[in-house]
Amino acid sequence: MSFEMPDFTPAIPEIFILCMACFILVADLFVSDDKRVITYLMSLATLVVAAMITINLHSTETVYTFSGTYVKDAMSDVLKLFIYLITAVVFVYSRGYLSERNLFKGEFYVLGLFGVLGMMIMVSAHNFLTIYLGLELLSLCLYALVALQRDSIFASEAAMKYFVLGAIASGLLLYGMSLLYGVAGTLDITTFSNVITANNLTGGEYSTVLALGMVMVIVGIAFKLGAVPFHMWVPDIYHGAPTAVTLYIGSVPKLAAFALIMRLLVEGLGELHAQWQDILIIMAILSMGLGNIVAIAQANIKRMLAYSTISHVGFLLLGILAGTKEGYSAAMFYTIVYTIMTVGGFGMVLLLSRAGFEADKLDDYKGLNERSPWSAIMMLILMFSMAGVPPTIGFYAKFSVIEAIINVDLIWLAAIAVIFSVIGVFYYIRIIKLMYFDKPLDTSPITSTPDMRLILSLNSLAVLALGIFPGSLLAVCVAAIT
């Protein structure tokens, strides 16, 4: 294999995040506990500067470097910008919660930043090897973050489950990749796809091997996404992890998981679309069904949001399985909207929690309107958006994926999706009922920092504003998919 000097320019954001994460890691050692806020501010500044670099480097053309293991295209730039944005919001929301629980340590931010690096690597990967390494880097950070609260048995149990299931998923993904390598003899995604097309391998004697490799890869992806029937870990981990970590796990990695699907299934295995479409249809129906129905039975809001995540994953898969450019941009739009809504939803849980009180039961939301009308309105907007009620962005997200599958003549599937989303409205509305029509059980004042209040309000208002003017974000997503 010939080697030419790689061009480092496209990878400057990754290099910057790496350098800053290392710098913060070392700098944090010299910061005393009462000045830990310095670490926090440096982490936020890192994300802001990285965003500026990414915007500066942005171009619509696709650039490959590092011998084709790295790709920078419109999709990767957009996803990276949202990764920075959502992670920064996560950092802002979690500060109060962490410091009340003696978790306000440099490691949280350093692991968070390394997780961001892992996601950026996944988003920009153009080789099975890089995809896998990025995924492992992200997963390793997430396992450690879940276990960070060492004295909590729930967190340790959640970390253990997450680690074991995550390792199995990575193993399956890797096995699938090795079978695909066995068929095509290359790890490079474009070359792989070309080899499959050129040698007509989908129908040849290696078609079964190819299919098994594809199934293994899909299982690995489904585990990471939390799609039914590989969803078992989601509620337990969301519930057991400290809420600040749940906020992180529940939101940003879904952007990277979307990129994982795009790189592996669409770019790599695009030729096998007819085969993976059927698998994804089954997973999407099961996810939407199980997620929305089981969420009704939950008494804990973290578990409820976990099942809500599972149902959203089902909707996300709808966009992918459509197999059209329109469907992919709808799925991307859905993923971005999902992260914005989820980060707001868990942000509300963090807002209501205080030292020694988690605010994770549905009963804790009773009479929120009496305690804090503004918080209740914000929660109302977020719940309406997750349910997909019209003037909010959640409606347009659901609308665009359903439109995409109707355009490929899967009208029955669209009907199922609508039915399940109507069922889902029930448990979101129940929270609104609790907030507005019940008497509060707990009347202590809500304490939070002004920066968190401000960002959370902006978060919820953005959900509303984007719902009224969805065009710009949708246009970004359409432009990102080439």
Binding site: S67, F114, L129, L133, E136, L137, Y143, A144, G182, Y206
Partner: protein, 201 residues
């Protein structure tokens, strides 16, 4: 059947046996030792595949280091065997069914039907002076430099995670600082109190 094939079958048989023992023996220490055997036999199979560097790394890193860690963990945890084995019998039938389906699938898919010697001819053996390590080195640090650097970041995160999760500071460390011991002066330790001699009542 060539000599290499005989070696392959012997060592694969040992590998499958060892892997089976890992999950079925009662004593976790034996399980760890059988895992060593499994790693070792897979290293032999990798050598047959001419992947000598990876085979030696497997022995050095896994057998030499990772298994020591495994044994540590097995000994460190006070494992209650009865609790560990409780679900075993109950889930055994389901496990067998799943394993059986997997084996049938794999035999059908990667078996001789697809990858038999008549379908894919075996590569010509390399010359005696061929070095797999050199071949690996030529691409790992140039073509695959990006994954290579990511690997180091993963190792860094592993260091951070291991320390963040297991390091506990003792409240009263019994750590002695020679520097401070040497610096001690008589005045720090000894106090001469002048007292009047007491008179007998």
């Amino acid at each position: 059947m060539g000599f290499e094939q005989i070696v392959f079958y012997i060592f694969s048989a040992i590998l499958v046996f060892a892997a089976g023992m890992v999950i079925s023996v009662r004593n976790p220490v034996f399980a760890a030792l059988f895992l060593v055997l499994a790693f070792f036999t897979s290293a032999v199979i990798w050598i047959l595949l001419e992947a000598e560097f990876l085979a030696l790394t497997l022995v050095l890193v896994y057998v030499g280091a990772v298994m020591v860690l495994f044994l540590f963990v097995v000994m460190m945890l006070d494992i209650n065997l009865a609790v560990l084995k409780r679900g075993f019998r109950r889930y055994l039938p389901v496990g067998f069914v799943v394993a059986f389906i997997m084996i049938v699938q794999l035999v059908l898919i990667v078996g001789p039907e697809q990858f038999g010697l008549d379908k894919v001819e075996s590569p010509t053996p390399r010359a005696a002076d061929y070095s797999n390590t050199e071949e690996l080195g030529r691409v790992l640090y140039t073509v695959y430099v990006y994954p290579f650097e990511i690997a180091s970041v993963i190792l860094l995160v592993a260091i951070i995670a291991a320390i963040a999760l297991t390091l506990r500071k003792r409240k009263h460390p019994r750590f002695m600082s020679p520097e401070q011991q040497i610096k001690v002066r008589r005045e720090d330790r000894l106090r001469i109190v002048k007292m009047k001699s007491e008179t007998k009542l």
